[in-house]
Symmetry: C2
């Protein structure tokens, strides 16, 4: 059976997984090196080797490696750029070829991180019984990916950007420079920006004290979850805004596409748990047009592993084509 590896590259951590067919047989993760692109790519290679060792698989048996990365991906060359959260990845990095070289010239295919996660959830996660699926990942920003008729939709290369659906015309400023995008309401960064603005305007909140107590320099999903637990009014209000914005954007997408299911994941959704996912499903309902039962909104089935698993699965056909050593 073909053996492939998947690597999910993030600004905070790197997750690798080795799969034998449809089964994860080894996995490893570590924090993303903050020093430069070379160190990041070396860490990715190390994690693949570590996962292989844990799986008891020799490096020579590895058929192919799939990578999910933020930023702009040129899937022909394996180059990545504009991944602002990964050190050295803002400018262009030849991620595919360099990782391949470190792994003994094994074939490497690079794709967008959100799409890899959607493929993972579609093939082996919460979306595995559906052929029409929207995956939405709420983390620093909000990313999305569509599977229609069993196939990942790419469009002209930019399909899936539900994070930039307009949920409030002339609304909050988004990190993309536009106004009223879903991401400005439901992304961790958008929530932080709004929290700082409200605090500066005199609203009392424990969010930033909690952040300091937890030794963080930004409002991580964990910080937000803790402030909610402590009953912080501003945290509750901002999460309610996020839920409403997700309800509007997901319902509009559902009215247009009439999908079978929606998977809601990402750091914030995973941290806030199934109750958050249920609230979003409830917030969609008033806006859904169809009379048949609407698509269920599901938590991810693979959690942190969606991206690495999806990346590994998506190169299975390349893996088969490679002659064994």
């Amino acid at each position: 059976m073909v053996i492939t590896a998947g690597v999910d590259l993030g600004g905070t951590k790197i997750q690798a997984a080795v799969m034998r067919g449809r089964r994860v047989v080894g996995q490893a993760r570590r924090p993303t090196p903050q020093t430069g692109a070379g160190e990041v790519i070396a860490a990715m290679a190390d994690l693949v080797m570590e996962s292989l060792a844990l799986a008891g698989v020799a490096a020579g048996e590895l058929g192919a490696v799939g990578v999910g990365t933020p930023g702009i991906v040129d899937s022909d060359t394996g180059a990545v750029s504009r991944a602002a959260n990964v050190p050295g990845f803002e400018e262009g990095v030849l991620l595919g070829p360099e990782l391949s070289r470190l792994l003994g010239d094994v074939p490497v295919r690079v794709d967008n991180d959100v799409r890899a996660a959607v493929v993972g959830e579609h093939r082996l996660g919460a979306g595995r019984s559906y052929s029409d699926l929207l995956g939405v990942f709420v983390g620093t920003g909000v990313g999305g990916g569509l599977v229609l008729g069993g196939r990942l939709r790419r469009g002209l290369g930019a399909a899936g950007e539900i994070g930039h659906a307009v949920v409030q015309p002339d609304g909050r400023r988004c990190s993309c420079g536009r106004r009223g995008c879903l991401e400005a309401y439901a992304g961790r960064q958008g929530i932080e920006r709004q929290a700082r603005k409200r605090q500066a305007a005199g609203t009392r909140t424990v969010l930033f004290q909690t952040m300091e107590k937890m030794g963080r320099d930004r409002l991580t999903s964990g910080v937000i979850a803790q402030a909610l637990k402590e009953g912080d009014d501003l945290a509750h209000e901002l999460i309610e805004d996020a839920v409403k914005a997700l309800g509007v954007a997901l319902a509009s997408a559902q009215n247009l596409l009439d999908m079978q299911a929606i998977v809601l994941g990402g750091g914030l959704a995973d941290k806030l748990g199934p109750e958050f996912v249920e609230r979003v499903e409830k917030a969609m309902k008033p806006h859904v047009f169809a009379e048949h039962p609407t698509a269920p909104v599901l938590p991810t089935g693979l959690g942190d592993l969606s991206g690495a698993v999806g990346a590994a699965i998506s190169v299975a056909s390349i893996g088969v084509a490679r002659p064994r050593p």
Copy 2:
């Protein structure tokens, strides 16, 4: 070559077309009888016969008939219900079988009117060079249909309802009972409701005088166009609202799907002309996320004929299967 007919049923008029392969060889239209379902179906049969005669085609040569209708369609039985604007079609009507009987048992397939129009535009109209296409029809309400990868998307049966995309949370009340739907801002009925409200609240407008002068009992697209010509401030404001709402909904759809083109038709768009379509395209731009040139927004290529042509084309394969007499 196979000969098929298409009938586009509307609350105001019925349009029929006869096609030989991909060419319209005869067409006819008349106002929709306001007396009952029997008269409506008889008129549809008459129009098919009239179109055949104009095409110089004998009734026996007709291979199949496609129908586009408003309301809820059961495509297995050919039954239609909840088409509130067509006399007698609010309750269930066995449209397919009854029309078939009147036409000498020729096969009849019934589908949604907006989908038929999208198929027409995709196959022979403004969308014919694209495999990924959103069709939006702005008339009494706002309907939509999607062609993805060359195929009409149905979803679980309700795909394409961009008219109920949320463009303003807690915004204007829509005829569907929800709030803030695109249709409440861009549909003729939504515009009329808002105009009456504004007039009752003291806003001066020539809209309703124009309506009476033109002998209408509602704000038709023609009435709105006339008031715009006369420089009516309220008419200009409401059309600007419609343009903005279309910009928001189309951009959000584009960010999610990254389509090749958008076709904008329907009574209001056709009446207000290419300038209106250009304004909508411009209103989308600030919200579009992708960096590549965005999908052009195009006026329909077939105008009033989109629906009848689409319905006729969609039964071409049935037509082939029928043995010639």
